[in-house]
Amino acid sequence: MDFVNAIILLLNYIFIPALTYGSQLALGAIFVTLIYGILRFANFATGDMMSFGTMMTILFTWYFQSLGVSLGVLPTALLAIPFGIIFMILYMLLIDKFVFKYYRNQKSPPVQFAMVSIGVMFVTQAVVRIIIGPGDRRFFDGEKFIIKAREFKEMTGLNEGLALKSTQVITIFVTIVLVSLLFWFLNRTKTGKSMKAYSDNEDLALLSGIDPKKIVIVTWVIAGILATIGGALYGLDKSFKPFTYFNNMLPIFAAAIVGGIGNPFGAFLGGYVIAFSEILLTYAYKKFFMYILPESMEPNTLVQLLSTDYKFAVSFSILVIVLIYRPSGIFKGKVL
């Protein structure tokens, strides 16, 4: 019985939260990696673009709520996401037309692109803060829990409860569907294959008649979808605050690079690598050991490797180590 309790404890406090957080990071990381692989620059506006998409979703959620439209047990935001995506894509294409296109035609070095993306970051941050304000927004409605910790305890008679939030299930489910669709698109359709070719060797792709303008637009469309959904899922699960989204840029970058930048599948796995290591290294295992060890060996400290204050520092350290020892990432980057 103690063993089952220990497993449930780990499931509840490590596995499910890490899987959720990892999915949110993974979507952002694929966004970063796509932009890096095809448009060839590190996009420092990642976090703020995600917050823009989330903001549009929130605005539509409020609009639907005021109309009285709802999805019952599911959050209304799911209905608003497609509209958020449309605005996100429009915003991205607008920025591309007025900002990035010029530098693409100039064939500027990646550093210049990165600097320009910092300008875009400032502007996007201003736009989001002016429209919705810097405060904390919760826009979740519908049923909050699928399984409540107390109900689970009563049902199974165990000491440890297992709480399953509906946002966690939605996040994981949507991520799996979206990522499988994306990989199907990249590997099976003609456009997807031409994107891969363009990422692999630009000149060769142009010679074989691939239209670069189309590739760029498709990339921004996919990026818009990923950014909005990733941002909205994070906002649903936690809460929406522009500053947090800006900060999330850093673990997202870490995930993309750890997975091998330019490689979407690597980025997808990288998200989970970062999330799991953050949570595994900062969790206090005292209770876990109390269950599995005999009473005489019970630990009297928290058995915590690092204090939770260093959560972000963990992912950054992993990134730094990967950058130094294997700059192409764990899963070998630069092949889309």
Binding site: F41, A42, V99, Y102, P109, P110, V111, Q112, A114, M115, V116, I118, G119, V120, M121, F122, V123, T124, Q125, A126, V127, R129, I130, G133, P134, F246, L250, F253, A254, I257, T301, L305, L306, S307, D309, Y310, F312, A313, F316, S317, L319, V320, L323, I324, Y325, P327
Partner: protein, 456 residues
Amino acid sequence: MRKNLNVIAAYSIMMVLILMVGIFQSWNIALSIFNLCLISAVMTMGANIQWGYAGLINFGIMGYTALGGLAAVLISVDPVQEAWSAGGFDILMSLWLIIVMVLVIRFILKRFEKSKVRTYSIAAIIISGILLIRFSAEPGIEAIEAVDPAKTGFLGGFGLPIIFSWIVGAFFAGGLAFIVGKVALGLRADYLAIATLLISEIVIAIIKHEDWLTRGVKNVIGLKRPAPYEVDLQTTDWFINLVAKFNSGKLGLIENLADRQAALNQLVIEGSSVFVKLCYSGLFLVVVIILLILTQKALYSPWGRMMRAIRDNEEAANAMGKNVVKQHLLIFILGSAIVGIAGAMLVTQDGLFTPGSYRPMRYTFLIWVMVIVGGSGNNFGAILGGFVVWFLWIEAAPISLFLINFFTAGIPETNALKAHLIESVPYFRFLMMGLGLLFIMRYRPKGILPEKIEIK
């Protein structure tokens, strides 16, 4: 004279703008803007040395600034004797452990050939070392943090005058830059940017959460000043006489003696804070001028020429026998050290150290906007960038408020859109910075005062 006309014009416009703030708003605001402009200018010079001279991208400016600030705390605060006796021994032991660990790793790196076993054993030493330090230092840390946590709860510093911290801050930042440079400088430009940004975040995380060293988010307040205190000035005779002399015309107009005394008191209070800020301005100006002379000399020296050669064509410079790796490391350390000085200056001016306030927006990206806008590779441009951008950063809110009121003059005050816009005035500064950066990068990619190389 003629070819420097644009430099002189740009600086004159900047000075006029600050004077206008002094005349229309208040001299206090003008001087605090001016002081922070000077500090920003020092930071920009540091970043400019790395980016403009050598083409190295460093997004870790925030970390070096914070280390400079930490130096200010460690130098100026009086040592906390009880904390030292409570846990000083444990901390010193941990320090020894770290030194031993580094020495062992160095020994392994030197003695053994590169192999998988070596890599894994080094990793094992680091991990077990960290665990050992964590568990051995814990009682000491807890004891230190328990010493009067509302006031101290940390080891304190050396109790020296805070001015020394400007030099120590440079050494701290330079030391960090040495480590970062050793591990990260081989990376490609955009990877280097991300790596330095993340390393600076790690530094901030440590400063924020190691309470025994820095008091963490509880902040350190009331640091010693190199300038006189306002309260002391207000009771000093010579200062009151000075203020009276300055304002004799204005005071002479007041007939009533009691009124005149009250007016004088008011002027003394205002004057004292202006005087303190002027003291800081003087100190900061000295630093800026010294750094400017040094960096200008360096720029036109053979060393500067070599750095530009490395920047413009690394392979050719390498082929000419220049040690690119070593020079990159050197310039990375020098630039970061200058940023460290700025960090210590900032804490000196504020008189408090707040680890929570170090955010990448303010201390990394804004500094980069300054470098790009001012003109990378040109020291006068970098300083001007610091002035222009900081001035706009502060004055953006009043300017945009004025613009909003101007354009929506016909709309009634109760209009929801207008009210919303006026409420979000503080965020227009981000918009201004972003648009400014984008326009400069597009239409004047070399900055306001571009780099110009004269061959004499």
